[in-house]
């Protein structure tokens, strides 16, 4: 990949005034080189995924003995890998159907909670006048830089031991087991998402026209009413942008789930199971390939269908600063 850079350099460097015939030929060559280089990059970026995808449909003995590219000369197709990895019940198979449901159960509330809380907070920070508003905003904004690693150990002990200060129990332990542990994961994801969510939504909400807000105030609308009837409909694109962000982040997360969801098929999401399979059964490629695709397909669909919002959110979140 890095070797593509010199190709471009030699290609474009040679350009002079495009007035002579030679120069014109050179210019065309340049655009050829550029096209070629971009095609090479595009290939490097797609072939690995493509290879995995093809492999996931090949019979086990084929995957393990021949390269996936031989599929084109000797095509053999099976759905058994998916069947096995999703619904197989032996401990060595994936049982991914279970984990798939876990992923859903973890992700949906972990998107909704920060979305709602951050929208409320962002509205207050943008349109309600109160003392210390700027300081609250700066504090929340600054929390974006705290790595979530800083919170993991104490948060886990908070869930399992509660909070005691000088012998007085301030908050009891959560004492969750089984599917209830989802609540821990929701809580953790919500907390970690809030600073960025408030920042992103504040960017949008604060740019709504002031006249609109003032007109509504003059008409006697209260803040909750303005929030519900004016602001929410107008910031739907921003909500979608953050929703997709958070969805991809939570669905693809490994660290938070590993710590707060535990490892079993009762609560752990797909990523945890896949990482485990990759570690303990690194050569069972028939399971890994199919399993990887099971985990990829949902975010990929969300991403491709809502790419527009995602890109908009990305730009608003990163460039406007």
């Amino acid at each position: 990949m890095t070797t593509t850079t010199p190709t471009l350099a030699t290609g474009t460097q040679a350009t002079d005034q495009p007035k002579t015939r030679v120069a014109r030929v050179r210019k065309r060559l340049n655009s050829r080189t550029a096209t070629l280089v971009s095609i090479v990059i595009a290939l490097v970026w797609t072939i690995p995924t493509f290879g995995l995808f093809i492999s996931s449909f090949r019979p086990e003995d084929q995957i393990k003995t021949t390269g996936w590219w031989t599929f084109f000369t000797n095509p053999q197709f099976t759905l058994e890998n998916y069947q096995e990895v999703l619904f197989g019940r032996s401990s060595s198979s994936g049982q991914l159907a279970s984990y798939f449901i876990n992923s859903l159960a973890i992700t949906i509330p972990s998107v909704l909670f920060p979305l709602a809380f951050a929208a409320l907070a962002a509205y207050a920070l943008a349109w309600i006048n109160f003392r210390g508003r700027d300081w609250v905003y700066i504090a929340i904004f600054a929390m974006q830089i705290v790595p979530l690693q800083m919170a993991l150990v104490p948060l886990l002990s908070f869930f399992s031991n509660g909070v005691t200060l000088a012998g007085v129990t301030l908050l009891p332990a959560w004492d969750l087991d089984g599917a209830q542990k989802f609540a821990q994961v929701w809580f953790a994801h919500t907390c970690f998402a809030l600073p960025f969510a408030v920042f992103l939504l504040h960017n949008f909400i604060s740019q709504l026209p002031r006249d609109l807000m003032e007109a509504a105030r003059v008409d006697g609308a209260t803040h909750p009413k303005i929030f519900r009837t004016i602001v929410l409909p107008l910031i739907t694109p921003a909500l979608a942008a953050f929703g997709i962000f958070q969805f991809l982040w939570v669905w693809n997360d490994l660290l938070v789930a590993l710590i707060f969801a535990g490892g079993g098929d009762e609560t752990a999401p797909l990523t945890v199971r896949l990482a485990e399979l990759a570690g303990t059964r690194g050569n069972e490629w028939q399971r890994l390939t199919a399993g990887a695709f099971v985990s990829i397909v949902v975010p990929l669909l969300v991403f491709l269908s809502l790419q527009r919002y995602f890109v908009r959110g990305l730009l608003a979140g990163s460039v406007k600063g």
Binding site: K19, L120, V146, A151, H223, N252, L254, A278
Partner: protein, 349 residues
């Protein structure tokens, strides 16, 4: 083949509870904010009517309670941030000065350990390599690609291809690339693409992920593969935002594409470039999933976030784990300060 749906029902119940809680909390809050003020308004109305009927002096008009509204709008966010982020971060900082069980104060021991223990020094060096390479290479490739596909015929499709890995989890991406790096003995047919290429060029197949320091570079490839799309999208938007008349004027002056790139494009997108590099640096500092899935930190590939997880959650060394987390935080700070300074200059300039 006996996937039992009954086993899944507690999870779905829990999900339902979560959704009910969501509706109750958010709806309840909005309802509260709606009902209470209008109750006050009605009471005041009644007071006014009573006052005017009895001829008593009108009660003074109270100022609308803006602050109270703000408090309730902000309450969930602020509470969660304090409980879930601020207090834990402070506690982590304290724990980093305590021993593994968080019982006794040990001063700076954990930090001394971090910089003297050979395996941890190795971890820090690896992280340094990651942070130097990933932002640089990913940004370079993203920029190169953004410039080249700009206004090309299949621009949207071409961009989607590079961008797609952003939707794939780090775990999924690691499996994809592990498959590329897969190894089969000399006498067997290769199943990994990389070894196949090496073999067909007449080389010997290698166990890529076992071989330090090459393995760290190969893991870095995975991160670059995921993040180049992000760089490309942001930079592409910046390139499109360059005023058309500047580009046109340069073109009329007969500027070559090469000069155009260095003298027009690059200076114009500098702010976006900085944002991309900063964002990628921070993301790279925290990289965890790739290392854990690909090598589990073995063969000299571990990085800070992975080591932090191991110390705190596998070996039960809360102190050492916390010290690593704090160090990670300390590393992020100068990057952020640099960005804030840049933003301020931009606004003034």
């Amino acid at each position: 083949m006996n996937f039992d749906f009954a086993d899944e029902s507690p999870k779905l119940m829990m999900l339902l509870w979560g959704l009910v809680a969501f509706v109750a909390v958010v709806g309840g809050l909005l309802l509260l904010l709606d009902v209470v003020p209008s109750w006050f308004a009605r009471r005041r109305e009644a007071q006014l009517i009573a006052a005017s009927a009895s001829g008593a002096p009108l009660p003074r008009r109270t100022k609308p309670r803006e602050g109270l509204f703000a408090l309730f709008f902000l309450l969930p966010t602020v509470l969660l941030l304090i409980v879930g982020l601020v207090v834990p971060a402070i506690r982590t900082t304290l724990l980093s000065f305590m021993d593994g069980n968080s019982q006794n104060w040990v001063g700076l021991d954990n930090y001394v350990w971090m910089f003297t223990e050979n395996s941890i020094v190795r971890v820090l060096l690896n992280t340094l390599v990651w942070v130097l390479l990933v932002p640089l290479v990913a940004t370079a490739i993203g920029l190169l690609y953004a410039v080249m596909v700009d206004r090309a015929r299949f621009e949207a499709l071409a961009k989607s291809l590079i961008f797609m890995p952003m939707a794939i989890s780090f775990v999924g991406a690691s499996i994809i690339w592990k498959f590329v790096y897969a190894y089969r003995g000399d006498e067997q047919e290769q199943i990994g693409l990389l070894n196949q290429i090496v073999v067909s060029l007449g080389g010997e197949p290698k166990q890529w992920l076992l071989d330090s320091p090459l393995n760290t570079l190969l893991l870095i490839v995975i991160m670059v593969w995921i993040q180049a799309g992000f760089a490309m999208v942001v930079l592409s938007a910046a390139i499109k935002a360059i005023p058309a008349d500047i580009v046109e004027a340069a073109r009329l002056d007969g500027v070559s594409p090469w000069q155009m790139f260095w003298q027009i494009t690059l200076p114009s997108i500098r702010p976006a470039l900085i944002v991309v590099v900063v964002t990628l640096s921070i993301a790279t500092l925290k990289v965890f999933d790739i290392v854990r899935t690909s090598t589990n930190g073995n063969y000299d590939t571990s990085v800070i976030a992975n080591e932090m997880y191991n110390q705190a959650f596998r070996y039960g060394q809360n102190g050492q784990g916390s010290a690593l987390a704090v160090f990670l935080f300390v590393l992020v700070i100068p990057i952020v300060i640099y960005q804030i300074r840049n933003l301020r200059q931009q606004r003034e300039g």
